[in-house]
């Protein structure tokens, strides 16, 4: 199969792309991709900057080509062997991607290394992620043939810096959730905001050195009057915080919610803009946490459908806070909905009451 055919496949996988909706989000695993400081590359002598960008693109292309070769080798030998080879192989490949200045590829590769030890069903998950990584590498190698929005998503996913150049949107932003993830190098903080006027849900990312909390901290449940501006990814989900007009204060705003069926459809639609998306932010309205035998699900109070909670939610204190808050009655839950299930982040009681953080 030629590369051209593969690219067609990639395009096929993301067919049906229309106007960029608000769905989709930047990959949090690729922080360097969108580190504002990296945008310094665009400043100074434009000719020098262009040459630097060209050189970097060449290195990434070399990296993506090498990655393609390694993925093909892996598939020729079979994934069954991946269980034995352990982390070492992936760490080495990830280091090659760092050398190629493609941090987005590097972090995806590193995540592949954890899959063989992630329990039953790992071959399916490993194949899925290998295939999506392949899709990303192919997307990069043929980015000039992709529609502009998708090309921007590919650049961001691969790990090229971008800057938030969307128009400033002023709103009264409710802080929906704030949660940190940390690896050996970096603490990543994701803050979800909901605009009371625009009804948009947007994501702020901030980073701290390993073990140290990121600087930006916004208390969940409060609202702040501020401007944000979107990054150029297909989803336009990720934003940078601009001017703040007032400190966060109490609010009665709650995000507008949907049913579980609608939430699943939203994720599916968002994949058209960004096939690498793991989840979309969704607020579920009138749902009840229900044990389903193996774990928990959020069931519509008025319909017979339900979204299973992501397995990682299983023993977390947040799950029990959610169950306690509900007491068997419908609640409003904000969280991330994707192929791993629903991860609840914040909940509101049926009656009046403040937001209850679950993470």
């Amino acid at each position: 199969m030629t590369q051209g055919e593969a690219s067609d496949r990639a395009r096929c996988a993301v067919a049906g792309r229309g106007e960029p909706s608000a769905e989709g989000a930047a990959d949090p695993s690729a922080p360097a991709a969108t580190d504002p400081s990296a945008s310094a590359a665009t400043s100074g002598d434009p000719e020098a900057a262009r040459r630097r960008a060209e050189r970097r693109a060449e290195r990434i292309t070399a990296g993506a080509t090498e990655l393609e070769q390694r993925l093909a080798d892996l598939l020729r030998a079979g994934l069954a062997g991946a269980e034995q080879s352990g982390h070492g192989l992936w760490e080495e490949t990830a280091a090659r991607m760092v050398d190629a200045q493609a941090p987005g590829l590097a972090s995806r590769v590193r995540e592949l290394g954890a899959i063989p030890s992630s329990g039953p069903g790992w071959p399916v998950r490993l194949l899925e992620e290998c295939a999506l990584l392949h899709l990303l590498a192919r997307g990069w190698l043929h980015r000039e043939r992709l529609p502009a929005d998708l090309a921007a998503t590919v650049r961001s996913r691969v790990g090229l810096p971008a800057s938030a150049d969307g128009p400033m949107v002023r709103d009264r932003w409710l802080v929906l959730a704030q949660h940190d993830t940390a690896d050996a190098r970096l603490t990543t903080r994701r803050v979800w905001l909901y605009g009371a006027e625009t009804a948009r849900t947007v994501l702020l990312l901030s980073y701290g050195a390993a073990g140290r909390p990121p600087e930006l901290a916004l208390p969940v449940g409060l609202a702040l009057e501020a401007e944000v501006s979107a990054y150029p990814d297909a989803g336009r989900r990720r934003v940078a915080l601009g001017r703040r007009f007032a400190p966060p204060g109490p609010t009665r705003t709650r995000p507008r919610g949907v049913t579980t069926s609608r939430a699943a459809v939203r994720y599916g639609e968002a994949l058209r803009d960004d096939p690498w998306l793991d989840s979309v932010p969704v607020t579920l309205e009138r749902v009840v946490p229900v044990p389903d035998g193996v774990g928990w699900q959020l069931a519509d109070a008025d319909e017979d459908s339900a979204l299973p909670l992501a397995r990682t939610t299983g023993s977390q204190p947040g799950l029990w806070r959610l169950v306690a808050l509900s007491g068997g009655a419908p609640v409003t839950v904000f969280g991330e909905c994707g192929h791993r299930g629903f991860t609840p982040l914040t909940a509101w009681p049926a009656g009046p009451g403040p937001a209850v953080p679950l993470c």
Binding site: R76, H134, Y267, E303, P308
Partner: protein
């Protein structure tokens, strides 16, 4: 999401996974040509299929919903108090400063007090605080009764969903079954739990029933008594300690003939706590023959003639025939007789003397400590304040601080029979005379917050200890108690102690700084307790 996309893709996907697992060199993927390009073709197809599968995910069917949690009729906590509860529950001891606590208050230690106040004011917790509350109660059994009372009906509903919290169901009567309704239905459920429940559930049921309806509990126990196992009978019998009255005597008398020696002993002990029981009268008669007043001596003295044998009647009344290692048989039997005899026996026997006069009498032939110790046990068992007072003596007496006839542990128990005010006064006098080194156990018996004279006696004594130049951790037990028990309104009086004092020549190096830190923590904790109480006073 479990429900996948249309079945047409499922076969293709299975083929791709199999080929990927075995390797394209061994298994050509569906729809691809054999050869070096097969791996890339597999990845292309898998990428398209992965996105298709993800985009096609649909919700699952809803599982059976649990019943709703019962309503909690109590008013919700005021906001500030709710925030305080969260901080008390999330405080993990030892997170900062290694072993030493520094000047930060120990929040977990304040939780019992906070719960007691919140319960007294009848507030309901915010539902989202219940998991942390249950976890705290799980880790600390001493917190359980107050924590579960505060947690309320929704916590029991929650505990049924999480095996980690089963203890809450056991600790709460009716917890295993849905606690709804009352009256006949409740009685029926209680009966069924008693007949079919686990041992711990039955103990809990009996204890709670005994607290509400002593006679009903006794009748419930009597109805199955003959078929219970010996160790169970012992535990059940023990729950009759609560609300013990003369009406229990026939049942207890019958338990004196039990097959198990431990059951007999417990029945006898309970009967001896009923001064008008037949057993108490029998023990009084036995004890009285052992103790007499020898008026030929000057001054008159008590003489003791311990029993020469432990007859069948004594054994039936719960006297243990075999002494522990190292004790003589006769003094062992004697101690048990005096302990079980009503204290009213002694003024009659000893020429109408008051308890004080009796305790002051000399005792011949070295029997004093045996006799007084037995009286102490009797005063505690019969909750006799008059005798307790006499046996305690004056707190300022020189022998009160040293090894006297009455040990510190016995004093602490005797104090328990006195009213709160009298108790605090006695301990304050004790500390003023003897200092803090022996005071910990006694302070533990005093009501919280400490009465003003007691609190001031403790602070004065700490001040003296500091001036003496020792390190504060010699007094860390008392310091910790003071943080939890001193009246918060005393905080202002402590300001003078917060500075680092000049070190005297003979002081331990650096002690002054540590003392200042310890007093800072004391004051910070007191202010925090005042704030906590204030928050719970607010209208919700």
């Amino acid at each position: 999401m479990p429900v996948g996309p249309a079945a047409s893709g499922a076969g293709v996907w299975e083929g791709l996974v199999t080929s990927a697992l075995l390797g394209t060199d061994r298994r050509t993927p569906p729809g691809a040509a054999r050869g070096p390009g097969a791996a890339a073709a597999l990845l292309d197809a898998a990428a398209a299929e992965t996105v298709r599968r993800r985009a096609g995910l649909r919700p699952a069917r809803a599982a059976r919903r649990p019943d709703s949690a019962p309503e909690d009729p109590r008013p919700p906590l005021p906001d500030a108090a709710a925030r305080r509860l969260t901080s008390l529950l999330t405080d993990r001891p030892g997170t900062a400063g290694g072993g030493r606590r520094g000047s930060a208050p120990d929040l977990m230690e304040l939780l019992p007090q906070w719960l007691a106040t919140a319960n007294a004011r009848g507030f309901a917790p915010p539902p989202q605080a219940l998991p942390a509350l249950l976890d705290a109660a799980r880790g600390r059994t001493d917190l359980r009764p107050a924590a579960l009372a505060f947690a309320g009906p929704r916590a029991l509903w929650l505990a049924r969903l999480n095996p980690d919290w089963r203890f809450a169901l056991r600790a709460t009567p009716g917890g295993e079954t849905a606690p709804s309704g009352a009256g006949a239905g409740a009685a029926e459920r209680a009966r069924r739990l008693w007949d079919e429940g686990l041992f711990a559930e039955r103990v809990a049921l009996l204890a709670s029933l005994r607290a509400r309806d002593p006679a009903g509990a006794r009748e419930l126990l009597a109805s199955t008594w003959a078929t219970e196992r010996a160790e169970d009978r012992l535990m059940f019998l023990d729950s009759l300690r609560t609300g013990l009255t003369a009406a229990d005597e026939p049942f207890l008398e019958q338990a004196l003939a039990d097959r198990s020696r431990n059951v007999r002993a417990t029945a006898a002990e309970l009967l001896s706590a009923l001064p008008h029981s037949a057993l108490a009268a029998r023990m009084a008669a036995r004890a009285a023959t052992c103790v007499s007043l020898d008026r030929t001596l000057t001054p008159p003295a008590i003489t003791v003639e311990a029993p020469h044998e432990c007859d069948a009647g004594m054994e039936r009344d719960g006297v243990m025939a075999k002494p522990p290692m190292g004790r003589g048989e006769r003094s062992w039997w004697f101690g048990q007789l005096v302990e079980a005899a009503p204290l009213a026996t002694w003024p009659d026997r000893l020429a109408g003397r008051t308890p004080e006069e009796i305790v002051a009498l000399p005792v011949s032939d070295g029997w004093q400590s045996e006799l007084h110790a037995a009286w102490c046990r009797a005063a505690v068992r019969q909750r006799d304040g008059g005798w307790a007072r006499a046996l305690l003596g004056a707190p300022t007496a020189p022998e009160a601080g040293g090894p006297g006839a009455v040990s510190l542990a016995e004093r602490a128990k005797l104090l328990g029979t006195l009213g709160a005010g009298e108790r605090a006064e006695w301990v304050a006098g004790f500390i003023a005379t003897h200092g803090l080194s022996e005071a910990f156990q006694l302070l533990g018996m005093c009501g919280v917050p400490w009465a003003t004279p007691l609190g001031r006696a403790v602070v004065d004594a700490l001040n003296i200890a500091r001036d003496a130049g020792s390190y504060p951790w010699s007094f860390s037990g008392v310091m910790g108690l003071a943080e939890r028990c001193l009246d918060p309104s005393e905080a202002g009086r402590l300001d003078g102690l917060l500075a680092i004092p000049d070190e005297p020549e003979d002081a331990s190096p650096g002690a002054g700084g540590y003392w200042a830190e310890a007093f800072q923590r004391l004051v910070t904790t007191l202010r925090l307790r005042a704030a906590m109480a204030e928050e719970l006073r607010a209208a919700p």
